[in-house]
């Protein structure tokens, strides 16, 4: 939880996205690689694009999906790690979080 909530997500300026029928295709212009997100991943991407802070993101998803909080935390962490590894997002530490 701490890892997530103490970081701010920045979407790379070289990433283009297009949502089609509930799924999203992300394209990294730098590497020219593309990635697919399923329905839940798409919702996470939407929230990230709107600038939703991570602390709120998890809370919001908990209201939208019937899922155990720990499981959600783990899934979101794993998705963000993958996105970060692919260079699609950057995790920036927020200085004001205790």
């Amino acid at each position: 939880m701490n890892t997530l909530t103490t970081h701010r997500i920045v979407i790379s300026s070289d990433v283009l996205s297009q949502e089609v029928a509930g799924e999203t295709v992300l394209l990294d212009l730098t590497s020219e690689k593309y990635f697919g997100l399923d329905h839940v991943g798409t919702r996470v991407w939407q929230l990230l694009s709107e600038g939703t802070p991570l602390s709120e993101l998890v809370a919001l998803l908990l209201t939208e999906y019937e899922v155990d909080e720990d499981q959600l935390q783990s899934d979101v962490s794993s998705l963000l790690e993958s996105l970060q590894e692919a260079g699609l997002i950057q995790l920036e530490k927020e200085s004001h979080v205790s």
Partner: protein, 425 residues
């Protein structure tokens, strides 16, 4: 970018044609939104064969979007569903990539006040497809005025694109931006609506531009109006020798365009086809759309398109020939540099280009190849033939291969004598 599902087992040609026909009917059924149960297909049709046929027709991504939410979808083979899903994602990604570079190119053209119309797949994807990425295409076509050709070339270079030869002789040139060693984005910039001489004068740039409409989906870039786009969709498939003219994606374009017109618009289209003497090509396209996608076409429109075309007169034959078009281009090219470029490309290309064209590595071939090029320039291009440059070049390739294969000893002797005289190693 693609990986193959597996290799389809070989079948006798007759059986293959029959199976392809069944698959094509099945694909049309699915694209029409009718139930498409996998069990309905004969058991000797595999997922690989259906996927290959989708690729052949350029409808993989379109099929995925038509099917993936339908109740019969889970009954399709898992691997096929995965491949079609992948094709869809790849199509959308390529579309975003192409759109990004297209905007760079268009911005550069706009900044210099140059007029451009987007045509064919790129424009139709934006104007007529719910998801542009589902309209498969390997390049984007832009239509410009020949009088602005040199400025367009400069704008293209300014935007960081590379121009490929030939530039003048085919009424179009290709520009690319290399992205990684494996692929690039490619734009074809035309100053004739169609490369095939038979159809090259169907619509002039000025007329097309006057009737063009803004494509809101592409930031106000101009595209052909629906009637002109339909006319082009019909003649394009008849003038294109590279692909099967019955590719379903082309027929689907015609279906979408016809469906977006009112009855009066369809009648205007048919009348314009008759006025331009291309009703045969248009009737063929419309018939395919009716058969494949059950497109609604009023009887009056069908009757108009069935009218016989005008007989060929000498002046018409000249206008629709390579010679007629080259003379026209020569007169319209904006300066002497461009005219010289045209002559050079037709008759005296660079030695590297010539060797490359005829797939030769030895410089010994050059005298023969130049002789062939000059002779070919006069005989093939300047006779009143209506083949496009690509068809002509295929014949030239055949000639060079024939010379290479049948010349044998006599050829080698002449080459050796030539190299001795010229002091070549």
């Amino acid at each position: 970018m693609r990986r193959r599902l597996a290799v389809a087992a070989e079948k006798p040609e007759g059986l293959l044609n029959k199976l392809n026909h069944i698959i094509d009917r099945f694909l049309c059924q699915a694209l029409r939104g009718e139930p498409a149960l996998w069990e309905e297909l004969p058991s000797n049709i595999s997922a690989v064969e259906l996927y290959d046929r989708c690729q052949h027709h350029g409808v993989s991504a379109l099929l995925y979007h038509a099917m993936h939410h339908r109740p019969e979808w889970p009954g399709w083979p898992r691997k096929l569903r995965r491949e079609l899903d992948e094709a869809s994602k790849s199509g959308i990604a390529q579309d975003m990539l192409r759109a990004h570079h297209l905007q760079l190119l268009l911005t550069s053209l706009r900044q210099q006040g140059l007029r451009v119309i987007l045509t064919k797949g790129e424009a139709l994807a934006a104007s007529h497809y719910t998801t542009p990425g589902t309209r498969a295409r390997c390049d984007s076509d832009l239509f410009i005025s020949i009088t602005e050709l040199m400025h367009v070339q400069q704008a293209v270079l300014d935007a960081g694109f590379e121009i490929h030869s030939p530039i003048y002789k085919s009424h179009q040139f290709t520009v690319t931006r290399m992205l990684d060693p494996s692929h690039n984005v490619r734009f074809d910039i035309h100053w004739r609506i169609q490369n095939a001489p038979r159809f090259a004068r169907v619509l002039s740039f000025e007329e097309a531009y006057a009737g063009s409409a803004e494509l809101a989906e592409l930031g106000g870039t101009r595209g052909l109006n629906v009637i002109d786009a339909l006319l082009l969709a019909c003649i394009h498939r008849c003038g294109n020798e590279r692909h099967d003219r019955d590719r379903l994606i082309w027929i689907y374009d015609i279906h979408l365009l016809l469906s977006s017109l009112t009855d009066s618009g369809r009648k205007d289209f048919a009348q314009k086809a008759v006025n331009r003497n291309v009703q045969k090509a248009c009737w063929d396209g419309v018939c395919r759309a009716i058969t494949s996608f059950h497109t609604a076409v009023p009887d009056q429109v069908q009757e108009l398109l069935r009218a016989p075309e005008l007989k060929q007169t000498w002046s018409r034959k000249y206008a629709e020939s390579n010679l007629g078009l080259l003379v026209d281009d020569w007169q319209l090219l904006p300066n002497r540099q461009a005219r010289l470029g045209l002559i050079r490309e037709l008759f005296i290309p660079s030695s590297d280009a010539l060797l490359n064209k005829y797939h030769k590595t030895s410089k010994y071939w050059l005298p023969f190849l130049y002789f062939r090029q000059i002779l070919g320039g006069f005989t093939e291009r300047l006779l009143l033939r209506d083949e496009d440059s690509e068809q002509i070049e295929q014949k030239e390739d055949w000639f060079a291969c024939t010379v290479a294969e049948t010349g044998g000893l006599a050829g080698r002797l002449v080459i050796n004598a030539y190299s001795m005289i010229m002091g070549l190693p």
